[in-house]
Amino acid sequence: MTTGERPDDPRDDPRWDLVRAAARTTVSTPPGLINRVLQSVQGLRGQLLSTPIDIPFEGGRLRVSERVVVLIARRLGAELAHELDGVHVSAVALDADGLQVLITVRYGVAADEAAALLRTRLREGLGDQLGTPAPPVHVHIVDVHPN
């Protein structure tokens, strides 16, 4: 097959059939991903906290909305998980019980220890950023993935 676009078009090389074959392979959406996304979006909608979190700040008060709490927790959680190696934050949502952090762990990682460590560090990190009004943190292992 000739593409006819350029005389030296790589797509005319027989090896390009491999690229076409790769393009035809299907990619399955991970089970539960859509629900995890919906949970995260729900967390951003901010329907749980009737008033923003008030943080004493340099002689005044800093007001942080629920949406910002979720975004801070998500970013901080992702950074902390990266440091732990083999742990990945899938979703963060806020509900009536506090922050729900869903994680996946690489096969071989001590999942319960990793989850506990992430929870501790995330609570500390949020405490540093938001003070005592920071909501409780719950970490859930939702999947194990290969290397």
Binding site: D17, A22, L33, L38, R106
Partner: protein
């Protein structure tokens, strides 16, 4: 399911079910793109999460100047680029391929291996080697290549996603194809 533009309109007006419908419809497409740009499932999932949160936050600014799918391709592509840039240095492509990628790309095998299970295994390995080769391309080449060769987008739409001119895109795509073919030749 609903027309995507209509769903976006309803979502902007505050209908949460409309945005949820967009998530359900477009997440497979978003994940596919994210996976082919980042090369790992965990990163791809993270990218999809970040992309949807970004989409939700920028919803009010959506002006219907682009198709919804084009807007979402742009959002997920930007999230994937951000993810790749945050990465720590990783194993080079050469090192990755030395762990089993070589000698997989025999195109004479490709022609004959479709009928039997062994052939299908070889073919899966070949496809895997191609995906690893793509993952080894510079990200500026990888992104348009994924959108064109894997997602089948037209030049105009990719140019809109990447916010570049069509001639610039064609040039970048050609360089990407040349680079990929060179990597495929190295595998022989």
């Amino acid at each position: 399911m609903g027309d995507p533009a209509e769903l976006v309109g309803k979502a902007v007006d505050g209908d949460p079910a409309a945005f949820d419908a967009l998530v359900r419809t477009h997440t497979p497409q978003m994940y596919r793109v994210a996976l082919r740009i980042t090369g790992t499932a965990a990163e791809a999932e993270d990218v999809v999460q970040e992309a949807w949160l970004a989409a939700w936050r920028s919803l009010a600014g959506f002006r219907h100047e682009s198709a919804v799918s084009t807007w979402l391709y742009r959002v997920v592509t930007n999230a994937a680029l951000a993810q790749v840039r945050r990465r720590k240095p990783t194993v080079s492509l050469d090192a990755a391929l030395s762990s089993g990628g070589r000698e997989l790309l025999d195109t004479s095998v490709l022609a004959d291996n479709r009928a039997n299970p062994e052939g299908q295994v070889v073919r899966a390995e070949q496809v895997d080697a191609v995906l690893r080769a793509i993952a080894g391309l510079d990200v500026a080449q990888r992104v348009p290549l994924v959108l064109r060769e894997f997602e089948g987008l037209g030049y105009e739409e990719i140019a809109e996603v990447l916010e570049v001119s069509v001639p610039a895109l064609r040039s970048r795509l050609h360089r990407a194809r040349v680079a990929l073919l060179a990597k495929l030749r190295e595998l022989r």
